[in-house]
Every structure is written in C-alpha cells, then in structure tokens.
Symmetry: D2
Subunit: 340 residues, 4 copies
C-alpha cells in the first residue's frame, strides 16, 4: 500500500503514519519527494484497510498495490478452474450451454422446454422457482413446486439444473433439488447469502451486480471461497449505463479481464443483458468469441404469454438454429460447445 | 399504456394486440398514423406488464402512461407523510438530524458519542450492529451486543435509534432493540427483506441502491407499503457514476424529484455519498437547501481508528459546529432542524 | 407524438394542447382515460420539438413515437449501405481491417508499419496527424507533415488512408491527403464540424462519443447526411461507465442495435475501447462475431516508446497472428476479412 | 509516479524501467516487496506519461502521485481567484447571478428579458447566439444578429454579457460583442477551441462535459491557462448517468471537490442539469449551499413558445421570487448574491 501525504506534511505526521503501518506488522518505507512525501507499506497489505489511513489529517490518498481478493485470484492458482457437474463441464475448452425458461411456469411447460433444449445440445437446464421482481404485483415464482418440476426435467433429460436462491431461509429447499445454485445480480452483495453458499458443496453461479465493478464482483466470489466453496462460476449479465436502447450494457470486456485476474470460469447471460430476443444471438456470439466458458439462454415455447422476460426469450426452434451457429464460433476459437 | 407497432403491421397483427389488451380487461383504442399504428390501452394499466406486448413480433415499443407504483405515489395521497418516533418528527417542516457512528464498536464508545451528538441537537441516533462489508476479511459488526448498546444509548439520551437489518433471520432481534429499521443500499432490491419489513409496525429507512433509478426505488417502497407498513423514509446516499473523486455521486436532484412523485419523506446520507469528511457539510447543506426532510451524519470520537468508514466520520466537536451551520440553512428554507 | 396530461387537466388546457398540435400542421387525437388524458399528434412529428409541449403547465410528459433521425434510418433505406474506397469495401459481407499507428510519428515509422500491416491483410491504413490529447503538455501530432507520410504510405501499399479531422480550419489540408475522414469521439457533437464534412464527397468515420446514446450518435450522422454526404461509417469505441479496469466499456450491443436501426456500416475500435493490448484481440473478435463491418487496430513497431497510446498498440508480428485468428471468426459468421 | 511490476519481474526488467525513468530526468527508487516490486519515480512526474510505462511487458499498473494539471491547481495558487467584469464579481464572497434566455430569439425579446432580470438582481446577462443542437433540423441561433441584441441589452442594463463560442472561426465576432465567453459542455475537450480562448484577454466559462471527470475538466482548464488566460470560471451543469427522471444528474459534490483542488471559481447551471423548471430552484439552492460562486438561470417571457429549452426556463416573475429566496441561502452561508 502506498500512502501519499499532503504537501507540507510534518516530520511528526510522517512518524504517525509510519507507526501505524508498523502496528499492523508491515514495514514503512518513506520517500521524501520534492512535492510530496510518500510512504510504502511493505508486507501483506490485506491486513490493513485503506480507510485506516484515509481518515488521517495529513494523508492525501492511499493507493493499493495488491488485489484485495486472494483465493479467487490468478496469483493464488495459475491453472483455470474447471467445474464438472453430472458429467458436464464448465471451463477448460468447453463452452457450457445453459438453456431453459426464465421462470418455471408449470410441469408440462418445463418438461417440454427441457426436452427441446436438450435435443438442441444444451448442457445445463435453467429455470427460476423463486423470482426477484421489481414490482410486488408481478409473478414471483412457483417456489418448491417449481423446484420439483426442474428435478423432474433433470431426470427426463439427464442434464444438471441451475436455479436461483434468493433468501437464506430457502437454502435447504433449493439444495435438495438443484445441481447448481444461482445468486442473482441483485444479491451479489447480499453478504449473508454469500457466506451461506460458501459453506455448501455445490457449484455456485455468481451473477455480476448491475453496477458492480469487476473488483467488487471478485470480492463477492472471495466471500464464497473464504468459507470453503471454490466451485464458483462468474456470470456477466450486463451493467447499468446511460444507454436506454438495451436493458443493460453487456460488458464483453469483463470476460477477458476476469480471466486474466482470476482462475474461475466466466459465463455470459445475453438474455438478461439485452432484454430483447434479437440481440441474444449477437451477444452470445460476442461472448464466446471473447473467451466465455459458457452462455445462458432463455427459451420459452410462447414468449408472448411468458409470465416473466418474454421479450428476451427465444422459441425452441430458433434456439436450435442459434445454438448451431454459436457452435461455429466456439470452433473458431478452438473450443467445443454444449453437451459432453 | 401505448403500444407502438412496427411499420407495416398488418390488420391481423393489430387485431391480436387489441384482443390481448381486452383480455386484461382494458379497452383498446387504435390510431393508424402515416408511419406507425399506435394502440392505446385504456383502463388500469398496472394489471398488464409491458413485457407481455414487447414479446410480440409486430410491436416496436411499449410506453407506460401511468406510474407502476401506487400507494407511495403523490396521486394516491396528496399530503406529505410525517413520521413521528418517540416525539421526534421526520417530514412536515422538521429537518431530522440522525447522528452516530457507522458501526457500534463498544459500549463506552456508543454511549460517549450518543451523549455528544444529543447535546449538539441530534434528533435520532444511528449505529450499525450488522455491517455489510465488501471484504469478507473486514469488521462485520458486534451483532446483538451492538444492538444492546444502542438501546442503552437510547435510554441515556431519550433519542430513538435507527439501525440496519441485513438478513430476514435477524428480524426479531433487530425489532426488539430498534425504533427505526434501516434497509441498506445493497438490499434495496432484496425483495424478501422488503416484504418482511412491510409486515412490521416500525418506521423503515429505505436507502437508494447504488444504481437504482428513482422509479425502482419507489417500487421497492411500494413492496413495503403493499404489505401494510406505510412508515417509509427514503434515503438518498449517492449513486454510482464514472466520477472517481467521490465514492458515489450524491444525486441531490433526487430529493425534489421524489418529493414531487411521492408523499413520503426523503432524507440524505452525505457521509456515505461522499466518503470524505470534508464533503459532509457541503452535501448536507445542499440536501437541506434542496428540500430534504433530514440528514444522517456519521460521527466518531476518533476517525483514525474507526473500524468502519473512518474517513467520512466527523469528530463530535466538528459535528457540533456543522450542525449549527446546517440549522442556518434549514431556517433559510423555512424549517426547523433537530431535536423537538 | 403522445402528450400525457397531468391528472386533473381541464378542458381548456386540453384545448390549448390540441390547438398547438394543429398549429404545427398535425392532427390532435384525444383519449380521456380514467387517470390521465392523453393526446396523440398524428402526422410528421419531426416538425415539432417535444420541448414545445413539455414547457406547458398541464403536461406531464411527452413521448416520441417516431425516431428523430430520418435519412440514416433503416425505414428510409432498407438495404445496407456499402462503401467502397480505392477498391476496398466497408459493409456488405466484408469485414474491413483498418490498421496503423495511433499517431504518425515520422516517415520511416509510418512507411514501415504500413508495409507490415499491408502484408498481414489490412485493407485500410490509419494514423493520426492531428491528435486530441487530454493534456496540453502531450504530443499533439505532426500536422501536415504527418499527412504527407500517410499519403506516401498509401502510394507504397495501395491501401486507402483514414485520418482524423479536429478543426474546421484544417479541412482543405486533410481532404487533400486522406481517403477517409475520421471524426473523433470528442467531436461527435461538434455540430459545425459535422456540417462541414457533410458537404464533402469523402467517406466519414463517425466515432461514438464517450457518453453518447445510440440515438444521439445517429442524430450526429443525420447532421452529416442532411448536408448531402451519405458515405458514413459509424465506429463504436467504448463508452464511459463506472468500471475502472478498462479505459472505456466497449458496448458490443451497439453493433446489432445500430444495424437494426440504420443502414449504415458499423465498425469497432477495440484499441481505444480497452486501452490495453491484451484486450484488443478478444474485443475485436467479439465485435466481428456480433456483426461489425470492420475493426480498427492500432499497431506500433515499439509500443514502449510510442508517443501516444502505446499500451494498447500491438506489435506488427502480433498483429499478423491476431489478424489470422480474426479471419476465422469472420468466416464463422459468413464474411470475408481484409484486403479485397 | 509509482510503477508496480508484475509478480516475477526479473532483475533485467527492473533495470529497464529504472533506465527509462532516469532517461526522463527523474530518479528511480525501487522497493522489492514479497509479492510485488514497486519503483517510485522521484522528480517532476508531469514530464512522463503513464502510458510510456503501461506499454512495458513487465508493468502491472502505473499510479500517479501528482496531479496532471498545474497552473489551475490549489498547490500552484493558494488564494481563490476572483474575476471582476464591468464591476461584477465572480468568486470571493459573492454569488454571481447569471440570467437570460437560452437562445436570443429577437431584439425585443432579449431587451425585455434583460430589463426584467436586471431589476430582480441579476449580475450578468446570458443568451446564446450560436446554439449547439442535437438535431440538424432545430433552431441554431441568430448568429451575429443575436450578438448585437446582447450588446444592446448590456448598454440598456449595464450588466456584462456571457455567450457561447462554438467554432474557432467565430472568435473575432464573439469577442467583439461578449464580455464573457462560454465554452459549452460538448466542446469541453475541443482542444483547438480551448487553445484559442487561452490566448484571449476575456473571462471564459468552461462548462463540464457530460461525462467528464473532474480531473479532465481541470485539464481542459489547464489548456486555457497554459496559453496565458487565467480568467477561467468552471461551470457544473450535470453529468450523464443511468437516471432518466432528470436530463442530467447535477453533481453537487463537484463544487466542493473542485474548490479544494483548484483556486478557480465554480458556478452551477441548474437549468441545463435538470431540464425542468420545477427543479431549477432546489438545485440552485443546493449549489449555493454547497459553496458555488454563482448560478446561471434561464429565463424566458413565454417558455411555452421558446425556440430552445422552454421546459427549463423560468418566467420573469417566478425568477424574481426564486432570486429572492436564493439570496436567503447565500446569506446563510455568509455570502452576498447578485448585482454589486
């Protein structure tokens, strides 16, 4: 950590900063420049919060040298993490294909869509039983009933299922039915929930928050990893910007940036990012071309009557055609896509 | 709701949209323009989700006419909501002054700061017992112990206490000690938590999410109100933008905008918005000048050793001087500030 | 245009709005709903500014139905615009490959890089003679001398050259040497400059402003087109967001969105978007996969000594390898890349 | 400047960085930590661009210690700059009150409004003769004719006039009539225009760009100052964010932040920030409470027929009432407002 002092900091003030650094067990290394004195803290800076120094009268700014996350960083583990669930891989040369409806709306609907996406090469099923909705008057999901249909769809297709967990009180229920637990964008900094899934022995998809920096996203992954669960899949789903023509702005750069900083696999959710079915294919293609380890695509047999996110859902036949073209992109970047 | 069709929409497509509107119990009102056909849905549009139409092939865009929230809107209640807790007001000509440490760090610390801010005119005490922190390695709060010290500080000063609730599993505990429940920015769309506090008979401070639009913020307030609890205080605390020189960008316009759209009181948290003690006074003054019904100021007896948010905390003596000057601004806008 | 009146608007107020619409030569079409009265203006709404109504006391909001741009819209021209310069295409099944240094630094440097990128399949040369720089103390370009080296590089390689125009006073100079004129992101709303290039008979690359919406970007293209020049190439180069790990956030969705709204070709500049050489390839690949009609890549023989944008420039040998892999992506989406 | 090397940087690589620093005439100061080697460059770091190091293979990141601007910084000049034009002050205990129409629409209109705002205490007149407009089909200003009416209004009222310059080709014309030159938000990084006004002996209002950081804004001021003109007035007018309920998000924190970093006066333009007349007063009040040295308010005798920005313009009588209340805020912060 580098502590930059204000112009005119006195010797006594410099001494106070040095003492504080040493009190944390680090060594202070002071350079008196012409315009500013700067003090380096040598040692494991993760023990110190920048705030501890920013609050001092004589301090102008504090610069981190090391990353504040550890277990999830590329420095900690050089090789890519590959996660395997019921024989299907995420990471390591495979582009995982998650597909299914936004919300589980009924038994037949779920089984029907599951069979169709499985036949088009999907490697994971998705579907929400608990839905976070902006309006209290909207459809909030079928709850346990929805989880049962998901489990039934898994039996029918052999594909593992991923579903969202919103509330720590639902953990036992969701764990009972799901193969992969999804933490939604709005819960990316629900730290209690992160701690709970960190204690599970199940893969977790951690969606990026609407305005989360990549550093904060990795810190949330660190929350999970710090409790012991290292089966974490990061999912880019668009960030909030000033641009109104798409629901969110899909941050495709986040894919290579995260892969350089962390060993964890990164997937993309173009359906939520764009909010429009016509954008799903170009964004999924972009994600794969940029190095994503998977894509998550919403499929609905009748988008016009969907209870949630109809406008961004593909019809099963369109999904089949899109999946075939995406395979071509995966091949162009030297990967295979979909079901093992 | 207005449904704009794509150029060249056929008579059959127009018919499908009209039928769908009527199926929701509204009347369809179609205008065929030179370039576009537009269909108005006359009736209570809150029964329909725009998505139901956006998913249709022939639809170009869907425009809402009414606001998606109801109980919290100015249309629903013309007069300002005024909330009174243990004799202290929020709204209605009073600028409430919330003060106290970011986190409760100990008994003596909490009682000491409480006594000091009370003597400077604070009307509410604040302090966190459960702290949401970006890093899993940071101080996470004292839990129930902290709540007890808060309650003790209330006994000593007579001032009501506000504290954060992060997890639905802590509700009974927090309700036992707190007068006002705070929902933090990161939980603004933790819909389960909102539903739970909506069932309480306690005032709730709802902080604006880091990238929440004003409409989404009011929808979250609607979640609480829809369950019965209408004692809601909205709190602007800065939004996330591209500007790095402040932790967040304090959106002072949100104050008059919310007051025009809703009857709920709005307060401001300049400490979290700015992240720097030197900005707390100008932002608090700006908030009051713009019409805020209260300000929330972090005070710490020794910001340099604070376990959380030291850089933005004022020392008690500075707080006293700032409070006196803020009273001058309150007077200039025709209000009184602080303890009744 | 739809004008939504405030609750309780009187008959007289409704009449005033109707008269105003009719004064613009459009027809007013009024629907009195339960909660709001809305008035549709039927006819060419581009004649009216929404502001003319937003300023009226009784108006709650004004919603546009039509797009404010015309000539550049897909409604105006269904087929894709394809631009051909000295035998090289932009649009229509070809992915144009623009390559060269950020700034022209000298004759040998420019000729050397030009020869190398030409041999790797580039179809256009790029290089700045006038450089917009944030700091007045930075290298501002060689001016006419730089333009001469660009022209010489064109003679040597046969490739057309693109270069930036910053000031209307330089038009004659730049037109004399360049094949394609580039308008930089900071000048996207320099309306006088747009008007001037609109009068030329040269293709213009119009970069998206750092915080320009897609609608504003298309309006700036309309400025050029309205003067007669329809050879416009839009260039996505990243927008400004809260994310600090990349210089800008490359908005890959803008590519398919623009292609649906407009017939103009769209290219991408991953070098400026990312600001880091390691991100250039993944972003270029993403852009091509999402449908871009070209990519612009900065190449420098010695990025460590570059006078501008070294950190994002590829070395010529790396460029050759990247270009070969990008061709694979272009093939996967059914296009050819680079020199005709 | 601090250069942080990647983990595992070799002795040879460290040597290259040290040499490069020394080649710029600074001293290198290397600390080998456990996880990273960091190299400090001691001396005037403004001679070096961070880019020169970011392009090196072994470099992880480069951190600036000093600010990249100099003449406009508080370090360079401790005392506030106060600018006096025809007896009216900006800065130093006075809140300047700029008022007038967005665009000069005619002689009578301009003289009428000028007389009214002068009688309500305005200290400067404003009005645009050259208007930057998003649409090529909108009113673009009266040009020289407008400038003449402004000059006539100055004769009539005795108040100095401020007006916008958009194009370097108009400088002689604008200088002939105006007392204060305004550079609009869209031209904040029109570096050629900045250089030109830097050579004038006239005060310049430099509006903040829609997505300009405070550092970039100050760098643009430095462009002007570096040419010799130090009569610079910074004007906050809102930045672009995700929030759609206001045209821009007025960044009130920018006022105290700029005043801590720079000695230049800072004014606010709440009319453009908000885009709505009902928000003009609360934002102007907030700006003054936060320390602004002036406010700029659009006034129009008939906002409903205004050719530009009607919805945000106050009627003269409303302006008078607002000005009176704003004076109360100015008094509360110990300043005087308006005409000397």
């Amino acid at each position: 950590m580098i502590i930059v002092l204000k112009a005119g900091a006195t010797g006594q003030e410099i001494g106070l900063v040095e003492e504080k650094i040493e009190a944390y067990g680090l060594a202070a290394h002071t350079s008196r420049g012409v315009e500013r004195t700067i003090i380096g803290a040598i040692g494991d800076e993760r023990k110190m919060q920048p705030e501890a120094f920013e609050g001092m009268e004589c301090v102008e700014k504090v610069l981190r040298i090391l990353k504040p996350y550890k277990i999830v960083s590329r420095d900690f583990q050089k090789e890519d993490t590959v996660i395997t669930v019921r024989g299907q891989n995420i990471g390591g040369g495979t582009v995982a294909l998650f597909a299914g409806p936004c919300a589980v709306e009924g038994r037949e609907m779920m089984l029907g869509i599951a069979a169709q996406v499985a036949s088009c090469g999907a490697s994971f099923l998705r579907g929400g039983a608990f839905k976070p909705r902006t309006s209290p008057y909207a459809f909030l999901g079928l709850g346990e009933e929805g989880l049962k249909y998901l489990a039934e769809a898994r039996e029918a297709t052999g594909l593992p299922v991923a579903t969202e967990l919103m509330d720590p009180r639902d953990i036992d229920l969701v764990v009972k039915y799901a193969d992969v637990i999804q933490i939604g964008a709005r819960n990316m900094q629900n730290f209690r929930l992160l701690t709970e899934v960190g204690r599970l022995d199940k893969p977790v998809i951690l969606k990026r928050g609407l305005s989360a920096t990549i550093m904060e996203w990795l810190m949330s992954a660190e929350y999970i990893a710090a409790e012991g669960n290292r089966q974490i899949i990061l999912c880019e789903r668009g960030v909030r910007t000033f641009e109104p023509s798409t629901r969110n702005t899909f941050d495709v750069s986040a894919i290579p940036v995260v892969k350089s900083l962390s060993h964890l696999p990164v997937i993309a959710d173009p359906s939520h990012a764009a909010g429009k079915m016509s954008l799903v294919e170009p964004l999924a293609a972009a994600a794969i071309a940029a190095g994503a380890d998977g894509v998550m695509i919403e499929v609905h047999h009748d988008p016009e009557t969907a209870l949630s996110d109809g406008p961004q859902s593909l019809r099963p036949d369109t999904f089949g055609e899109v999946a075939a073209r995406l395979k071509g992109i995966a091949t162009a970047v030297g990967k295979t896509m979909g079901k093992a």
